[in-house]
């Protein structure tokens, strides 16, 4: 008899986690960021509840600054899964015109951290699936699969519930919520292998293509729309680039690449000598403890 492969074990675990949440939470939601991890998470949800559509909506906490190709993918993915898509924009950030060019870290705080809290409160969601992985970052390595947040969405790393076997304690008081990370035990390579094995649709930006870019502060940024303020002397140049992670386009560095197929992307990834999140400016704020601090404040 054949043992399960590592991908089969990871898949089974993620599906088990999602079903536990649906069985025990009142109003679950899946946070959908349109990236490759979200794509895998959504695919797993479709598998978990097949033939029913996943019994919860998708929520995109939008910043209005995502790549255009991401917005195109968003609607299609929700439709294919037969799920409702909720999009939340922080009205205050909208009103104040918060943007990554002028506002630095405030951009992430207002659109994403505050926006997420607003959306969860607005719809009264008590459990939110997120696509974070433990291999992404050191403080993630210790986060539980079921991560509890106080009524004000705070995270207390010292007061986490022990998780034994595959038993998850989903009990909570009114107002408290759970962030659930079904991909906790996946690595980046697992994600890519699974995308290939399952034929999951991902945003084309992950594959190399000629795109208009400028080089700024050591990062290659894509000029995705005309809101990109070019500095004196800057001129968009067509370069063959791809993205290792996708976020707000002005904050997401591209890598020069000729990898136009998934195996080529994985090949480049395995041959590269830098860790995954290097292309993303966000983790470098406030030193090494950046992510841990953001999480205590309510960032995913």
């Amino acid at each position: 008899m054949l043992g399960l492969t590592h991908l089969q074990r990871l898949e089974a675990e993620s599906i088990h986690i999602m079903r536990e949440v649906v069985a025990e939470a009142q109003r679950p939601v899946m946070l959908y960021s349109i990236g490759k991890d979200s794509a895998v998470m959504l695919h797993l949800a479709r598998k978990a509840f097949y033939p029913a559509p996943p019994p919860f909506p998708l929520l995109h906490v939008d910043t209005t600054w995502k790549f255009r190709a991401m917005y195109a993918m968003r609607e299609q993915a929700a439709q294919d899964a037969g799920m409702d898509l909720l999009v939340h924009h922080n009205p205050e950030a909208m009103e104040r015109g918060i943007n990554p060019f002028d506002h630095g870290p405030l951009h992430t705080d207002m659109w994403k951290t505050q926006g997420l809290k607003q959306a969860l409160d607005k719809y009264d969601f008590d459990a939110a699936f997120g696509g974070a992985r433990r291999d992404e970052e050191k403080s993630r390595a210790k986060e539980r699969i079921f991560s509890f947040r106080t009524a004000s969405h705070g995270w207390d790393p010292k007061n986490q519930r022990p998780e034994l076997w595959n038993l998850y304690n989903a009990r909570k008081h009114r107002g408290e919520s759970i962030r659930v990370f079904p991909l906790s035990n996946w690595t980046e390579l697992d994600i890519w292998q699974y995308i290939m094995a399952e034929g999951i649709n991902i945003v084309p930006l992950y594959l190399a293509a000629p795109r208009p870019t400028v080089e700024r502060d050591g990062m290659l940024l894509m000029v995705d729309d005309d809101r990109f303020p070019l500095q004196p002397g800057e001129e968009p140049v067509m370069r063959s680039v791809r993205f290792r992670t996708l976020g707000c386009y002005p904050l997401t560095g591209a890598v020069e690449s000729e990898a136009a197929t998934l195996p080529e992307v994985v090949q480049e990834m395995l041959l590269t000598t830098t860790s995954e999140r290097q292309g993303r400016a966000i983790d470098k704020d406030e030193g090494g403890a950046g992510m841990e601090k953001k999480k205590q404040e309510g960032y995913f």
Binding site: E11, N185, Q267
Partner: protein, 644 residues
Amino acid sequence: MALHSEDRAYRPDALIAEDIGAYLQAHQNKGLLRFITCGSVDDGKSTLIGRLLYDSKMIFEDQLAALEADSARVGTQGKAIDFALLVDGLAAEREQGITIDVAYRFFSTERRKFIVADTPGHEQYTRNMVTGASTADLAVILVDARKGVLVQTRRHSFLCQLLGIRHLVLAVNKMDLVDYDQATFDAIVADYRAFAASIGVEDFTAIPLSGFKGDNITAAPSAETPWYAGPSLMQHLETVEVGNDIAQTRAFRMPVQWVNRPNLDFRGFAGQIATGVVRPGDAVRIVPSGRTSTIKAIETFDGPLEQAVAGQSVTLTLADEVDCSRGDVIAAAENPPEAADQFEASIVWMGEEALIPGRAYWLKLGTQTVSASIAAPKYEIDVNSLEHLAAETLSLNGIGVADVTADRPLVFEPYADSRALGGFILIDKLTNATVAAGLIHNALRRAQNIHWQALDVDRAARAALKGQQPQVLWFTGLSGSGKSTIANMVEKRLHAAGRHTFLLDGDNVRHGLNKDLGFTEADRVENIRRVGEVARLMTDAGLIVLTAFISPFRAERELVRGMIPDGEFVEIFVDTPLQVAEERDTKGLYAQARAGKLPNFTGISSPYEAPEQPEIRIDTTRMTPEQAAEIIVAQVLGEWSPTL
């Protein structure tokens, strides 16, 4: 080997560059090994894990650069790279220089993918280690070669054994600090072997290592240990047979997580297979109900499967419309698991607040959640000496053996046979914290209301769940005789004794169910008939029903008696002479009746037919209501209480 800069960079597998397709194909089918590392800060555990990550090429240039900077600033290894910094995650921990939680690390080689649970080794972090061990297939137990087998080594080994880890690696670390001396290594191994046998560990693999220098980590033997003939740590991790497939050889069991019902034509049972293999056409039994059916299909997003095995998450459909919901277990028809409501279990206490014996906690086992209480421990285990100590309770990190009583039967298997159906957690009902982990040894008695034959949920089943004999305590007597007063007292006492009761009183019924009825003889008969029907339904639900109605006519009382199964109708005659009742006249009704304002008033203008052979007769002229209640309760609990 000390580190040289040219070693440092991540160097990928040659196949990646040559033939990515072949590489991916090979890696697609790798297995997974989950292991835990046990040791204290001083044993070099974090250094060892950092070294495994480094040697399996999981450390990238940028991480290495950050690591070098951190090592220079806060490292404990002088100018050398401090691998411990690579794995110590949280800011608070970095400051204290110790790991205080469970961290999960990932690395893979050509042969396997690994998930490492990295937990602190101090006694005050026993709960963290138990958590990490619960999902591990293998444990690496670190020993400092200079110190040998210590109290903590014994503690770690015992916990791994308790959590059912069958593969232990004794990693004798820091061999560089004892000049790679074989005699030192052999003495430690012999010492450990003697101890291991005493706790039932049959086999282990001992490897001499230096995490700091890298000896016997990836290749063996290192030039420094020519006398060592075994595998390197990595070789052992890559090749050891951990027997994940053993679960497939056991009888089929799948705890039902969720019933998938997208439309009227589909009813699927979703769950993760705990043990065994399932195929369409297999005969299955739903436990605890005992109903049988056959597997119609194994439905997945990718189409129906020919078979599914332990570990997979699937959706099963059954050939018959049988009751089956979350918490039930679908099992091989001929070999189903037991159900019981009392167990003996090992309990690992994880809550800040100590165990309160007898208090109800939520117990979650598989997909079942029940209310359960833990008796005072039979003994606590000193995790250092492994002695059994007398204990009244268990506090944080305490481990003991105790009896567990659940409020309904749980489908289970001994933990030694099945982690999925033998391990449970306890949840504090007030704080919702996970306060304990439990490992079932065996049932103390088989639940009496579990039958392997199909069992309808009938009045007997409902009554058995409440642990009581349903009955109707029918109080009859004149207005003002004291029926309601006594019935109230009886109900309070029964309730305090843990019985499930309901009091139907003349007033509460006449304000609702019977508000359309008056006091004519016909209406009085109908009043009693309806009350009788309600009482009968309530006994079907398993309740002890108390009724307080004048119910003056013998015929109606007999009518009700006829509705209720034999022995369950208890007629209680609250015998108060008319004269006494009229003197009390608590509601002023007798005065109104005498004045002709209340027609058909029992005793005045309508007859009261006293019972001829009541089960209980209460003479209110000779006892207080309290005494009366005591007599009734004694009789109800004494004569009719079930033997549970």
